[in-house]
């Protein structure tokens, strides 16, 4: 039994932030259970990511390496990690809850006759794992009573990456046995959505501008904020009617319906025609100088102020936090 293994995911040649958060969760779990904390890296750039992991407060770092793992496939990762965990027999396996993990971790758990406790937002004594149910309207606490490995994945932002301690650890290499024929899917190169069509419907972050912007000349202010956020620009109807932004960027009852993780409404009052287009957003932020503006009714966070001051300040703050 080798304690807790945190599986770190590679992003652009480095360990991704969500993985550091998973390691922080692992740290939390280690202090609750008294088990050893270890990290495993898998996939491309394994040498570099292993080095990063080795500089953290973990006992061991395993570098799971194989040519067939350089490109992510569910088959490759499942086979490799299965062999690794058969060898290590962990008590806990912690993943970041990324799209990639969702694609293979449940299959791996099933292969080992276990079930993944996914999208955990908190770990408490027991250990018990807290998850959100019913779209966040309910919180549930889970226990893993069995003797096999307990697999869990942690929600992005539930733990803080900067709480991971520093240290030195030994790196060992694990080479799984994988045949090319076992990889049944052929992934293509990642690509961005087509440049011409504006697909607000699938945008994760949107900065939306309304009549408060007063003039088309003021748009660059908001566009800069969108850029630093990595967000798409959208607008309420009057802006598009005036031709300041193309019609495809209109959000509302006669435009697009969007449901991004973050919707920033700048200078938008919140008329019903606009609200119905964006009310499904996970997190709504409103910036408006009118404290009575209906948009504040639906916003999670609001700043009552002059957008010409708030927006540049926000742009700076976002840049600083990167």
């Amino acid at each position: 039994m080798s304690g807790i293994w945190v599986v770190l995911e590679e992003r652009d040649g480095r360990v991704g932030r969500a993985s550091w958060e998973a390691l922080a969760a692992g740290q939390n779990l280690a202090s609750l259970t008294g088990k050893a904390l270890n990290a495993a890296v898998i996939g491309a750039a394994a040498e570099a990511t292993a080095k990063e992991a080795a500089a953290k407060a973990v006992c061991k770092v395993a570098r799971i390496d194989h040519p067939l793992l350089s490109r992510y496939t569910p088959d490759g990762y499942t086979i490799a990690l299965h062999q690794f965990f058969e060898q290590e027999k962990p008590e806990y396996v912690v993943y970041p809850h990324t799209y990639q993990v969702r694609d293979f971790a449940p299959a791996l758990a099933a292969r080992m006759n276990e079930v993944l406790i996914s999208d955990v937002v908190g770990i408490a004594d027991g250990p018990t794992f807290t998850r959100q149910l019913l779209q966040g309207r309910l919180a549930g606490s889970y226990r893993h009573p069995g003797s096999g490995p307990c697999f869990l994945s942690v929600q992005a932002g539930a733990f803080r990456a900067d709480e991971v301690g520093a240290g030195t650890a030994e790196v060992t290499t694990f080479t799984p046995a994988i045949e090319a024929a076992q990889i049944r899917t052929r992934p293509g190169e990642p690509f961005r959505g087509a440049a011409q069509t504006v697909d607000l419907g699938s945008a994760q972050k949107i900065v939306s501008v309304g009549r408060g912007i007063k003039d088309a000349d003021n748009l660059p202010l908001v566009q800069e904020l969108a850029e630093v956020l990595g967000a798409e620009i959208a607008a309420s109807r009057p802006i598009c009617d005036n031709g300041w932004l193309p019609m495809e960027r209109q959000v509302g009852s006669s435009g697009q319906t969007v449901s991004p993780k973050l919707y920033l409404a700048v200078g938008i009052s919140g008329a019903i025609q606009h609200l119905v287009g964006m009310k499904g957003s996970q997190c709504i932020v409103a910036i408006n100088k009118d404290p009575e503006a209906p948009i504040f009714e639906v916003a999670d966070y609001g700043i009552v102020g002059d957008l010409f001051e708030v927006v540049p300040a926000l742009t700076e703050a976002v840049k600083a936090a990167k």
Partner: protein, 640 residues
């Protein structure tokens, strides 16, 4: 000079040959008439029977017949000058009945009206007076159609109308000319034959042209469905609305054949007026063309070659067309029927429509907003919850519960009710009444909503409802009847008007242009109550098109939930008309009208007038409430 004892000159003698010729011509004329009319009658009768038509309310039918057909009330009131001209032609025809009969009898040598006798002379002079009026009338109408060319009659000039006009004119002139000839002369004989030929040519032309209305429209008016916008129920498992010819009913066919192509429906249609494809007259004529083509037994889709699906879905169901029609065509059941045919079978593919239907299937309101938002609003405003003990249930509706401006209207009205000491409560849960899906023709979703709502109301023991939205009022009172017995419901202006004497009069000279909502005005006949309330709070000014002539705001028929309009926006057109009255405030009585005008007024350059619901107009004259925070005793009893 009219001779002192001048009477209608008649040929004194017809040869056997002439009588034979006359007989042959009469038979031929009749046969040609029937050749065309017979199949039309057959097509009407071969159409499916109307499931909900009963020949009841005979008194009202007779009255409508008398007023609309005999007195030509609608014809004259809605287009006075041409209407009067037409009335003269029509009355002329009626007066001529005896004359024409006598004329034919004379041809067979058995004339019964003696020109020398008292009755005969009296009658002939009476008929002459009508003939003058008729000739003048038909001449005026001819001049209007061919020289003035009003655009509602269509771009193409109707030559058949010219021919008919010419024949009618000829009939009148030959009749009048007979007063200036003497019995037995060649002139008299010639006149007789010209008159006769004109008549015998006229008769077969009738069923080939829109003049078929001469025969059909009295029946059409008498056989109306009985109520404004009466949407028939679906019958059986195979009925999805008006999909193919097989679904056309007798009333629809009768009405389609009665169309006189006058264009009064188009003249008042918001879609036609803003350059959309939809033209109500063309819809009716499209049905007629279908009947003449594939026919009532055909399985060819009604929407396709003969009528456009796009056009049908541009209708706001404002009802101006049905309201105007002088021959009794009921456009709304046809429109909704065609929409049902497309939606219930899934042939209508529209992203916004699908989204609306899916939202109402999964959620409680047409806007797709979480019901928690409604709860939050109720809590924040401290609205009492209905628990069966209060007198009224205040129905919020989708706009009242979720739209920021709709909520303001609800809050204002709640203040008025508090001031009046009315006991009321708001339901814990409401689902959309289903108005938009009802007008769009989705019977599946509508049935579910109606049944669930009725169950909810019954469980909560609701007896009386008051609502700020005319669409909710109409749907609950009328459309839900197919699925149960809805409680009594009235509009908030009707409620407030009853208590008008207790509402403080505001000393204000502010001009308020009141806009009659379609669903309150034409649909419910409520015009005076809101006006009485407006007079309490300011000075009423009327837009040029007001009361039953009110021009739609563009939101009805489910269109508020569909995508962008093409062409000019209906709401903008109406808003401009309201602003042009010079009023400082536009008064509305419907949250949808309010929402549409808010958009339109917001885009106007310069200072736009204020926009307030009647409830807000009244509420602003109320004294501030004594308690700053309203307290509700457990059980939601009357608040002070």
């Amino acid at each position: 000079m009219i001779p002192v004892h001048a009477t209608l000159a008649e040929p004194q003698y017809f040869s056997v040959l002439e009588k034979l010729l006359f007989l042959i011509l009469v038979v031929a004329s009749g046969a040609l008439f029937w050749r065309r009319f017979g199949p039309i009658l057959h097509r009407i009768l071969a159409s499916r029977k109307d499931p909900d038509f009963h020949l009841d309310h005979l008194g009202r039918r007779l009255w409508d017949f008398f007023a609309e057909v005999i007195c030509q009330a609608k014809v004259i009131r809605q287009r006075p000058l041409p209407g009067l001209a037409h009335a003269c032609v029509f009355w002329g025809f009626c007066a001529f009945a005896l004359v024409t009969l006598n004329h034919a009898a004379v041809g067979f040598g058995v004339g019964f009206l003696d020109p020398a006798g008292f009755f005969g002379r009296f009658y002939f002079y009476l008929a002459a007076a009508f003939a003058i009026a008729c000739a003048a009338g038909i001449f005026g109408l001819f001049a209007r159609r061919f020289f003035v060319r009003p655009r509602w009659l269509g771009a193409k000039v109707s030559y058949e109308s010219g021919i008919i006009a010419g024949l009618i004119f000829l009939l009148m002139i030959t009749y009048l000319a007979a007063f200036f000839t003497t019995d037995g002369t060649t002139a008299a004989r010639v006149l007789w034959w010209v008159h006769t030929l004109a008549l015998l040519v006229f008769v077969p032309i009738i069923p080939h042209t829109k003049h078929l209305h001469l025969v059909l429209s009295p029946a059409t008016v008498f056989l109306s469905r009985g109520e404004f916008s009466k949407i028939p129920p679906l019958v059986g498992d195979e009925d999805f609305g008006l999909v193919t010819g097989k679904d056309l009913t007798q009333l629809v066919s009768l009405q389609a054949y009665s169309c006189v192509e006058c264009g009064r429906c188009s003249e008042h249609c918001p879609a036609t007026n803003t350059g959309k494809e939809l033209n109500p007259r063309e819809i009716v004529l499209g049905v007629r063309a279908y009947l003449n083509g594939p026919g009532p037994a055909s399985e060819e889709p009604l929407l396709g070659k003969y009528n456009s699906q796009t056009a049908v879905f541009q209708c706001t169901t404002c009802g101006a067309c049905e309201f105007q029609c002088p021959v009794g065509i009921e456009h709304l059941p046809i429109m909704v029927g065609l929409r049902r045919g497309a939606v219930n079978t899934g042939t209508w593919e529209d992203d916004y429509g699908a989204k609306l239907f899916n939202q109402l299937e999964r959620g409680s309101n047409a806007l797709g907003i979480s019901a928690l938002e409604r709860d939050k609003f109720i809590q924040k405003q401290g609205l009492p919850v209905f628990d069966g003990t209060q007198e009224y249930c205040l129905w919020l509706g989708c706009m009242g519960a979720y739209d920021p401006k709709g909520r303001e209207i609800v809050t204002a009205f709640a203040r008025v009710m508090d001031y009046l000491g009315t006991s009321y409560g708001v339901l814990k849960k409401e689902k959309c009444t289903g108005d938009p899906v009802r007008r769009l023709g989705n019977d599946l979703v509508f049935q579910t909503l109606a049944e669930e709502n009725l169950k909810n109301l019954a469980q909560n023991k609701v007896k009386k409802i008051v609502s700020i939205c005319p669409h909710c009022v109409r749907t609950i009172q009328e459309d839900w009847k197919a699925y149960g017995t809805p409680p009594e419901i009235e509009h908030h202006t009707e409620f407030m008007a009853r208590h008008a004497d207790r509402l403080p009069k505001q000393a204000s000279n502010e001009k308020v242009a009141y806009h009659d909502p379609c669903y309150l005005g034409r649909y419910r006949d409520v015009y005076d109550e809101p006006r009485a309330l407006v007079q309490i709070s300011g000075r009423l000014v009327e837009a040029p098109r007001h009361k039953e002539r009110s021009f739609c705001c563009g939101a009805g028929g489910g269109l508020a939930f569909l995508g962008e309009e093409t062409g000019e926006r209906v709401s903008h057109m109406r808003a401009a008309e309201l602003v042009a009255t010079g009023a400082q405030t536009v008064g509305t009585a419907c949250p949808f009208c309010n929402s549409m005008f808010r958009d339109a007024l917001g885009e106007m350059n310069g200072t736009a007038p204020q926009l307030l619901d009647v409830a807000q107009l009244i509420a602003r004259g109320l004294p501030e409430p004594i308690a700053a925070v309203a307290t509700t005793a457990p059980g939601g009893s009357t608040r002070e």
